[in-house]
Each structure stands twice: as C-alpha cells, then as structure tokens.
Amino acid sequence: MYRIGIDVGGTNTDAVIMDGEKLVLGVKSPTTEDVTSGIVSSLAKVLEESGIKAGQIGAVMIGTTHFTNAVVERRKMSKTAAVRLCLPAAECLPPMVDWPDDIRETVGGHYWLAKGGNEFDGREISALDEDELRGIADEIGKQGIDSIAICSVFSPVNSEMEDKARTVLAERLPQANFTLSSEIGRLGILERENAAIMNASLRQLSAETVKAFSAALASAGLSCPCYITQNDGTLMSADFVRAYPVLTFASGPTNSMRGASFLTGEQVAVVVDVGGTSTDVGAIIKGFPRQASTSVDIGGVRTNFRMPDVFSIALGGGSIVQPDDPITVGPKSVGFRIHTEGKLFGGNTLTTSDVAVGLGIADFGDPAPARALGEDRLNAIRDVIDEMILNAVERMRVSPDKIPVLAVGGGSILVRDHIGELPVIKPENFAVANAVGAAIGQISGEVDRIFSLEKISREEALEDARKEATQKAIAAGAKPDSIEVLDQEDVPLAYLPGSATRIRLKVVGDLDG
C-alpha cells in the first residue's frame, strides 16, 4: 500500500506519495483560503501524475498550521471558561493575566477560581468543594460557554482533583467539552493553564477541521484512514486531534526536520529550512527534533508544553539586500512578491535570490542586475549570509562532533557546501521535505502514571510501563516489531505512603500496512 503525506503551508500545499521507504512523487499546489480545496486539488494532482489509484492508498497523513494560525490571527477560537482549583493560593494572578488583550477578548476572558489544588508534597491546599463547583457550572451555563479548561495546582504530580472537577461540572453541563491541564503541560501553572485554555478554545475548530479533512479525502475517492501530525513527529487519529488540537502547534518545523532526516538518512544533525522570508534551524537526535527547554510563545501567549526547539532568523530567498557598506540582509523581505519586485524578475528590489543568481549558484530570472555590483561585492554579500546561517547553526548544534547540516526548503540554494567546519547535505527532494515528514509520521503509545515500588523494583516498573505503552501503540496501528522507546523519564515521589515513582514513557513504531 502507498501512503500520501500532505503539508499545508502558508503559501503552498505540498503532497507526496510514498511507497514504503521510497518517495514516488511530490507535487505543489497553492494553499487556498478554505484549506480543504487546496488539499483536494493536491490529492487529485498527486494521484493523477503518479498514476496510482485511490484504492491503493493505505493512509493519508496531514501536517497543518491551521490551529497555530487560528491563534496567531485570533480567529475561530471559541468562548472558553477557565476553572482554576487553587484557593486560597494563586488569587493574585488570574487566568490569562499576561495574554495580549485581543486574544483574551477573543476567548471571552471568563474565569473562575475555586477551592482545591495540592501542595508539592501531595497534601491538599484545600478540599474540593462540589457545591462551589456546581455553582460555577450554573454560571458557565448561563454564559452559554461549552469549552472548559480545568487547571489545578500541582496537577502534573496529582491530577485527581482535575478529574473530579470535570465529573462534577459535566453533570450540570452535559454538552460541554473539557480540557485538563495535566494532560497537556508540565509544572509552571500559568504556562500550563494557558495551553489548556487555548486547547479548549480550539476544540470546536478542530471538530470542524477533522470533518473537512475527511470530506476532502472522500471527494478524492479515498476511504483510507486519515492522520494528523503532532509536534513530536508522531501521528494523531481524528478522535485525538478533536481532543488535543494544540498538539499540532509547530508540527510544520517538526515535519521538515523529520523529512530532512529521512531523505538523507542522517539521525543526528542540524536542519536548516530556508523559506521565502525566514529560516528555521533545529536539531534532530535519533531522527526526532530536540525539545525546547524554555517557555514558548504562541501568538503572544506563553506556554510550556513540549515543542521542538527551533531558532528562526529573518533570512530567506526574498530577503532584501542593502549592498553598500555596512552590508545588511533582511530582516525585511519581499516574500511571495519576489516575482514582481525582485530585480531578477524586472522589479526594483535587490534580494538574496538576485545575489544567488548573480553568482551563478542558481539559475532562474535575470542575473544581470546583480552582476552589475561586481563579483567582489556579491561575494561580500554572500559572506554576510553565510555568517547569519553559521550563527544560527552554531546556536542549535548539540555537540562538538562534526554532525552534518541538512539544508531543505525552497531557499536552501543560499546554503554553501560547508557551514563553518560542518558539511552540508542537500537532499534531492528538498522542496517537499515537509510533506515527506508528514508521510513518515509514526504511531506512538504513551504511559504517564504513578507506579508503586512496594512490591516491584524501579526496573520492573519501567518494564511494565514499556509493555503497556507498546500495547497502546499496537492498538493504535503500529507494527509490533518496529516499536522502540523514544523517551522515558521517572520522577521519584518520596512523600507518598511507601515508595512510588511517576513514569512517563513513550514508544514509537511504524504504521502497519
């Protein structure tokens, strides 16, 4: 069976067909306002050009920036109720306190603080008050809100109160959807709560999007399963995306890094993805992106859930070049208007593409305007570009080893054969690395719970967790013999009666079929 990978970008919707490990074909179509028709046309195009029939496709994987864009553009976010279990603590900083005004207004800014929450050592700050919660449920009902985010103090260590509060609220609000902060983020209440509120506000949109994607597949004659990629390079089923849309945030850079790794066969590398206006630089370890260790801003809101560590610089194929000393490149870019404004296409603006064409390293448009600057000047400009890339690569480099740099994206013609001492590899299909990254998405199985060490050793507990996660991955469609542990972490909880440890473990495997 073949697989189709689709990347819905800001400018283009790319589609690739893969036959096992082999890339059959890649195509580009313009992204459309409604997103779906762009997917439909790229599906039609890739099937037609490859001559492969719809019935031969086993799965479609879609990478989308839909949900990130909704947050950035403050569109299509639902009114949301934030319920924090904390009193009497945490009263001084209400939920959404540091959000930009426009996004707070978009989600309505409604919040309730209630008794509850745990201490660092597991004691209760105060007991949950079910009557208080029922009162809150009635107020939420009166406001007509049906997206609810619940966040309890220290819930990443003990999520019981969040679960209990959901049960109580759901009795009065049977139509509502719930997001629990413990399912999304880690310690750091403001950032975790932010992510939970954003997730809740996107639940409606995610239900609609999943429906639209299924319709797009159906209209292309496809009846196979459809998956959406999440930001750790694994796949989510439609049901999962409906519940956790924020996990798609930053899946674009993840897909391009994973695609670059796949196309070159390199497992440890720095990936440079050069677009029209900016360059994303990230690091891959074992073929997966390195995670960010600090809080990450999404549309001006601080969050702390897992995200790929990406460093972006304002350098792309359309960056505006100022050739006189001191030479500057960017941060402004002509972007997609390069075809009218770039000197190489008869416009008035000198861009990095002009320089590349003038130096003969790329062959499109008219090289004459750039050549008029003279070779020395062009080389001096290229040195500035090199320095910018070198700087970003050095920042993301993970070790002193001479790991390769993988250059992908339409603007990667700007990247030389070496960056400092590191060799550069440019895969043949560099322009569709994103869609390849989506197509090779793997199935994961995850366990995150507290294990008692009364009767078993830590090693046995880890082994139990691994088995449990493996079963989950197989149930979700992973090929049993391809499953391996991607990530494991155990935090001893000294305070619980007896001895206990919290184990988070994630396995990944290839999609079966």
């Binding site: 001084c92 900083l93 209440i189 993301m396």
Partner: protein
C-alpha cells in the same frame, strides 16, 4: 543617572531585565513578581521609590521577600498579601509603624516583592538592597554582615497562618526555623525581617540598585530598538568590562545540596579568538578563568548575556553552542571589606586557593556612585 522615583508598567519591564542581569545567573525568575506588581498598578496602587539618603535617621525599614523552593513558586502562586501580613505582624509585635520596604537581593525574583508589598502597604520602597546582585543565602546580605539581627521576624502563608520568631539564638537558627516552617506551609511563604533604622541602612545598604536595575534594562531595550549592539550599550551605561565574547563548548551541571553546581567552558570569538575561558557556578556565576588563570571572582559580578539580544542567561538556560558575552561588573565596596569577604568571598564558596582581587573601576566611577 537620574534616580527612579516612581515605578509604572514600563519601568517594571526594564527592572525585570536589569534584575535578571544583576542576578548573575541565579536569583530566580522575576517574571511572576513583575506580573503581580503590574496587577497592583492596575488596581490603582502606586510604587514610590525613595532614595536611600532621603530616609530619616529614625525611619523603620523592613527587608522582606518570598521564601521557599523556586520550583514551587511557579506552580503554587501566592495568594497575594503574604508579605503584607508578615509586615503587619511585625508592626503588631513591636508596636511600631514601618516606613519603607527594601529588597535583600536586587538580582532576580527578590527585586519585585518589596515593591509589591510597598504598594499594598502605601509606603515607599528604598532605592537600594542588601547585595547589589544575587547570592544563595539570606545571611549573605550586607546588613547581616554588618551586625543586624534578623529577629524578631514574621512569616505568613496563603492560608492565614502567621508565625513570629520573637527571638532566635543566631542568624543560622532563624534560617533553620524558617525553613522548617516554610516546608510545613507548602514551600512558599512571605517573610519580613526585623526593622532596621534609617541611619543604619544609609550606611550599610548597597545604594541606588533599583535605579541601576531599571537603567540596565533600559539600556538593553534602547539597543534593541535602535539596532545597536546591546552589550556595548550596557558597558557604556555601566562601570563594567567585557571579559570575552565566546561560544559554549562544554557544560557540566549537577544538583548538590539544593544548589546547581557546575562549570561552563568557552572558546573566544571575534576579538577573543584563540582564547579559552571557564566559568564556575553555584546557582550564580562565581569565578571566571581566562586561559587557566583566575581573572574575576565573587563578590564582583560575572554576567552572561546572549551576545545578540543582550538578555541575561540564567544558569539553567545555558546550552552547548550558545554565543555569549561575558561581562564583569564591580561589586560595591560594602561587599569588599574583610568582614564581607568572610561571608561572600571565594573562600566562603569553598575556593581556599583563590584570593579576591577587586576588579578596577573606571577613573570617574567612584564619584558618581
């Protein structure tokens, strides 16, 4: 530089960055404290700053701040008036009226709480602090070094519990008893220490440090807005010296007795190409060695900035491959005396082979400060 007399939202952002720089890699994150101050301002309260020398000799000044584990502080945020309750408990205990608050440590998170409590109590915060930087322990501030006894002191939590330490046998006993109480309180509480008289604090507080944090932060913002080199801008504003522009080539960090301990190895770039450096850290950056030779050490300030943005990098955010600027800023003379060096010199951090050599100041710097 002009003294800061009033803090509004714009000044808070600059103080956050400046306090981060003066935190010399530690001191905790001032972000939550900044948000809390901002909420007080939104309620119509004001944060007034009083220059150290304008204090009356018999004014009563209280040093206060949060106490507990930093990781708890980002999860269980305070109810909001813990320090105010502790301050009121002291007033009740001593039957007095407190005239101003002061920060024990301007570097990092403790820069914010005294401003916050001052706004709530309707009194000013003093333009000064007890370190001019950050250090890991309470007794490492100037007033403890120069003989002030911290008890009677008071602690309050979010649940309404208030504990007064009427008398403690020593500063170490206060630390011990306060730690035990704070664990029972859920590892986050507010503490207010025995009031100090105006004439004492005028002699023994590090002066002008709220203004200094604000002006440092402003220098970074100015450079970013005008696309100038932020490191050069900071050096123009400060009586400091660029030690090296460098890239991190090795990083060792581990936890020891609750502190992050380790070392950072760097290779110079730009004008420092070919040189190597090592920075030792224990929560804060303690010692800088160039090509194997000790060049700067505590109590002088070793500051690590992102070489592009000028923003401070704390020890937990250090990363292999980062390009950094390492700066040294001279500490105040109060930190350089024989008594002070016993508590905060290299020996106090376990460096028995190192002797503190004060870094030179600029010729005219002594007059302005």
């Amino acid at each position: 530089m002009a003294s800061l007399t009033k803090v509004t939202e714009a000044e808070l952002d600059a103080i956050e960055v400046g306090a981060g720089i003066l935190g010399t890699g530690g001191g905790g994150n001032p972000y939550i404290g900044k948000l809390r101050c901002r909420e007080e301002l939104k309620k119509g309260r004001r944060i007034d700053v009083i220059p150290l020398l304008e204090l009356d000799d018999d004014a009563l000044v209280v040093s206060l701040g949060g106490i507990g584990a930093p990781v708890v502080g980002v999860e269980k945020i305070e109810q909001g008036e813990e320090c105010l309750r502790a301050l009121r408990a002291l007033e009740e205990e001593l039957d007095c009226k407190i005239d101003a608050t002061i920060s024990s440590e301007i570097g990092g998170a403790n820069s914010m709480e005294p401003m916050l409590t001052a706004a709530q109590a309707g009194i000013p915060v003093v333009d000064g602090d007890g370190m001019g930087r950050a250090f890991p322990e309470m007794q490492m501030c100037t007033w403890s070094i120069y003989g002030h006894k911290s008890s009677p002191s008071a602690m309050a939590d979010e649940k309404g519990n208030v504990v007064v330490f009427r008398h403690t046998a020593s500063e170490v006993w206060l630390e011990r008893l306060a730690r035990a109480s704070v664990v029972a309180m859920g590892a986050a509480a507010g503490i207010a220490l025995a009031p100090m008289r105006g004439d004492f604090i005028k002699k023994f507080a590090v002066p002008d440090t709220v203004t200094r944090a604000w002006s440092l932060g402003n220098a970074v913002f100015e450079a970013q807005t005008n696309h100038r080199d932020p490191v050069a801008t900071i050096l123009e504003h400060e009586d400091g010296r660029l030690l090296m522009t460098a890239k991190i080539i090795d990083l060792k960090r581990h936890l020891k007795g609750g502190f992050a301990v380790g070392e950072v190895k760097v290779d110079g770039f730009g004008a420092y190409q070919g040189e190597t450096g090592v920075i030792d850290l224990q929560n804060e950056f303690l010692v800088f060695r160039r090509n194997g030779e000790m060049e700067v050490c505590v109590p002088d300030l070793i500051v690590v900035l992102d070489s592009d943005t000028g923003l401070p990098i704390t020890t937990e955010l250090l990363r292999y491959g980062q390009r950094i600027a390492i700066l040294a800023l001279p500490c105040h003379d109060l930190l350089r005396s024989e008594e002070a060096l016993k508590v905060i010199g290299p020996e106090a951090f376990g460096y028995h082979d190192l002797t503190f050599t004060p870094m030179p100041r600029r010729a005219n710097a002594g007059e302005t400060r």
